[in-house]
């Protein structure tokens, strides 16, 4: 087994509203190992991005906070870190790329300046060294003619190019973990394939771990080793990728697979999950998925389902797995 880098235990992140606090991430456990890609899958509002922001210490203070649990980075608890200490972690040891590369880059500064800024802040290099390093990073992420691209502004680049710049910035301090929050959702399919390929290659090259947040099961299949499926703030299923794609067991995971149009399934009626994702401030008692579940039982309406190992390393949170 490769080295354990990050271990999140019982993490609960809440946001304050006028009424009651809303639990966006509810007692989530996860482990990230070296050179591994961990995918977190779920639909909008399931808490996957909030889990990532919690790791980065980027939950806005006036809106919410981590109310319980630990995030251990090689044994050190990030939730106990001061603001100053977290600044050293972000970028240096854990970095993050976002869905929309246009809004994450500063439009009035050149790409080169923005990468050099990161390198100079975090790696104490002088201007000359930083310039060399930045050019090196750009060529590493597959940008042609990196020297001339240093002077380009974000608007002069395509979406795929901008995402490469974001990745170059995220990797410039050789982080141990990169969190990619829907990194290819805003991109075209051909560009998506390029970026996924790039992330996979870089992972091998620098030996970092990746936490990939996505709603696309196709992307998961092509990149991840381990998968977590989230619904309404909780992990509902966890397995290695082959196991999950061969024997999905949780009704929500099954629903996600069935609602996906696939090439080769022409004109077949899809089986969508009925209803909509419930609002987090108005979750039903018992299992959060009960209203949309086709296998709902009496017990689901009152008792939260247990986390159960259904086969080796394959966990699911559902009453179906409990024999009466």
């Amino acid at each position: 087994m490769t080295e354990l880098l990050l271990k999140m235990h019982g993490l609960t992140t809440q946001f304050f509203t006028k009424k009651t606090p809303v639990t966006a991430v509810d007692k989530v456990n996860l482990e990230v190992h070296e050179k591994q890609t961990l995918a977190i899958v779920g639909e909008s509002g399931c808490g996957k991005s909030v889990a990532a922001l919690s790791i980065m210490g980027l939950i806005p203070k006036d809106q919410g906070k981590i109310t319980n649990g630990t995030i251990l980075l090689k044994g050190k608890d990030l939730t106990k870190f001061t603001k100053k200490e977290m600044t050293k972690i972000r970028g240096n040891r854990i970095s993050m790329i976002f869905q929309e590369p246009m809004t994450s880059l500063n439009p009035v500064l050149t790409a080169g300046f923005q990468i050099m800024e990161v390198i100079r802040k975090h790696r104490n290099m002088d201007k000359k060294q930083a310039l060399q390093e930045a050019i090196h990073m750009l060529s590493m992420v597959g940008i042609p003619e990196p020297e001339s691209r240093m002077d380009a502004y974000p608007h002069q680049m395509s979406g795929g190019m901008r995402q490469r710049i974001m990745i170059a910035m995220a990797l410039s301090c050789h982080p141990e973990i990169m969190i990619a929050d829907e990194p290819t959702t805003a991109l075209d399919v051909t560009i998506q394939a390029q970026i996924l390929h790039l992330i996979n290659n870089l992972k091998q090259e620098i030996g970092m771990a990746v936490i990939l947040i996505t709603h696309d099961l196709g992307v998961v299949a092509q990149t991840a080793q381990k998968v977590l499926v989230m619904y309404a703030g909780k992990i509902v299923e966890q397995a290695f990728v082959n196991e999950l794609f061969t024997y999905p067991v949780h009704p929500y995971t099954l629903g996600l697979f069935a609602s996906r149009p696939m090439i080769g399934s022409r004109n077949k009626r899809l089986s969508p999950i009925p209803g909509i994702v419930p609002a987090l401030d108005n979750l039903p008692g018992g299992c959060a998925f009960q209203d949309r579940c086709c296998k709902v039982k009496e017990i689901c309406k009152t008792q939260p389902p247990p986390w159960k190992e259904v086969s080796k390393d394959h966990f699911s949170r559902c009453w179906l797995h409990v024999s009466e």
């Binding site: 639909e43 909008s44 395509s158 979406g159 795929g160 190019m161 075209d188 399919v189 051909t190 560009i191 998506q192 394939a193 390029q194 996924l196 390929h197 996979n200 709603h215 696309d216 099961l217 196709g218 992307v219 998961v220 299949a221 092509q222 990149t223 990728v241 082959n242 794609f245 629903g255 996600l256 697979f257 069935a258 609602s259 996906r260 149009p261 696939m262 090439i263 080769g264 399934s265 022409r266 004109n267 077949k268 009626r269 899809l270 089986s271 969508p272 999950i273 009925p274 909509i276 994702v277």
Partner: protein, 339 residues
């Protein structure tokens, strides 16, 4: 070749919409120099009554502009569009209004396509009022019918858009498009903004409509798996031009154009043993300054000298299938012999 066959396109009654050499150029002023963006460049196509015709391509390929131009939501720069044998470009105001009743549109973003201050009943009633359909009583009944058709409940008519989820709003927009009993619906990325589980609900709804009506759909999407699921025929666009057309079945079995192949290969497969998809290098070039010859040649792995110099024309390779490529896949040797 059918491009020159304008008379027959006008007369064949099973063709509902046909476009000939349609162009849409946007003028640009950059640094004093005049430039044009050729958003749609010389597109000809026929859409048959009752079919679902898909247009697929990456962002910026001109697929949405094509849809807008075909319904005359934007005036075209050059070319002709016939709808049911009538020249759409010459229609006057009242002719256009009658056409609008027959041809409706479903937009991508269900959040911005509904007026937040209007209740659903008045949203659905508005097209009926504009087209003077029925009295108040009849209109109310029609609204209930429409809600039922798209799977919403009667009490939903008294609610405002913000009370609905994305999928429900997309149903409302679909109901509004159906209000005037149209023959033709342009659906521009109707499911792209929705979550996977909700997307499936809307796809099923569209497939039901397709089944039980004489509706013709022009379905625009960047998502090949959605296109494959719902369309009968399709056209692939690249940089404002159609590079391949044909039936969906044949297309997915064996595409002729290298770009089509690359698009299909780039769709991530939900099977961990499948490995990473093949990579198409490079970006879509700028439409202001397109490459010489075949627009796709800088990214094409099969390119030869001819591709850099000469732009390929859209040609019928097998019945009902056209491709714009000098060396179409599976046909390389034949073309070499003749060329």
């Amino acid at each position: 070749m059918y491009q020159n066959n304008e008379k027959s396109a006008k007369m064949t009654d099973s063709i509902i919409l046909s476009a000939r050499h349609v162009k849409k150029y946007y003028p640009l002023k950059s640094k004093g120099k005049k430039a044009v963006v050729k958003a749609v460049d010389d597109v000809s196509l026929d859409i048959f009554k009752g079919e679902t015709f898909g247009v697929v391509g990456e962002s910026g390929c001109g697929k949405s502009t094509l849809g807008n131009v075909l319904l005359r939501l934007e005036e075209l720069t050059d070319g002709i569009v016939y709808y049911a044998g009538k020249n759409l470009i010459n229609l006057n105001k009242s002719g256009l209004k009658a056409f609008r009743k027959k041809a409706q549109i479903i937009y991508q973003d269900p959040y911005s396509a509904l007026n937040p201050k209007k209740k659903i009943e008045s949203v659905l009633e508005e097209p009926l009022i504009i087209h003077r359909m029925g009295n108040r009583q009849e209109r109310r009944e029609k609204v209930l019918q429409l809600l039922d058709k798209v799977g919403l409940r009667p009490e939903h008519r008294d609610r405002y858009p913000h009370e609905f989820s994305g999928g429900q709003r997309q149903r409302i927009i679909t109901a509004r498009a159906l209000a005037t009993d149209p023959e033709f619906i342009l659906a521009d990325e109707p499911v792209s903004a929705l979550d996977v589980s909700i997307q499936a609900q809307v796809i099923n709804l569209l497939m039901d409509l397709k089944k039980d009506g004489d509706l013709t759909f022009l379905f625009i999407s960047h998502d090949l798996s959605v296109i494959e699921h719902i369309c009968d025929r399709l056209a692939v666009m690249y940089l404002g031009r159609i590079v391949e057309t044909g039936s969906v079945d044949n297309f997915f079995r064996a595409p002729f154009h290298p770009y089509s192949r690359a698009l299909i290969d780039a769709v991530p497969i939900a099977d961990p043993s499948a490995g990473l998809s093949n990579i198409l290098e490079g970006d879509v070039p700028s439409p202001i300054n397109p490459p010489s010859g075949c627009c796709f040649h800088p990214r094409c792995v099969f390119r030869r000298d001819k591709c850099k110099k000469e732009a390929p024309k859209l040609q019928e390779l097998s019945p009902g299938r056209e491709v714009a490529c000098h060396y179409p896949l599976g046909f390389t040797q034949t073309v070499e012999k003749t060329g």
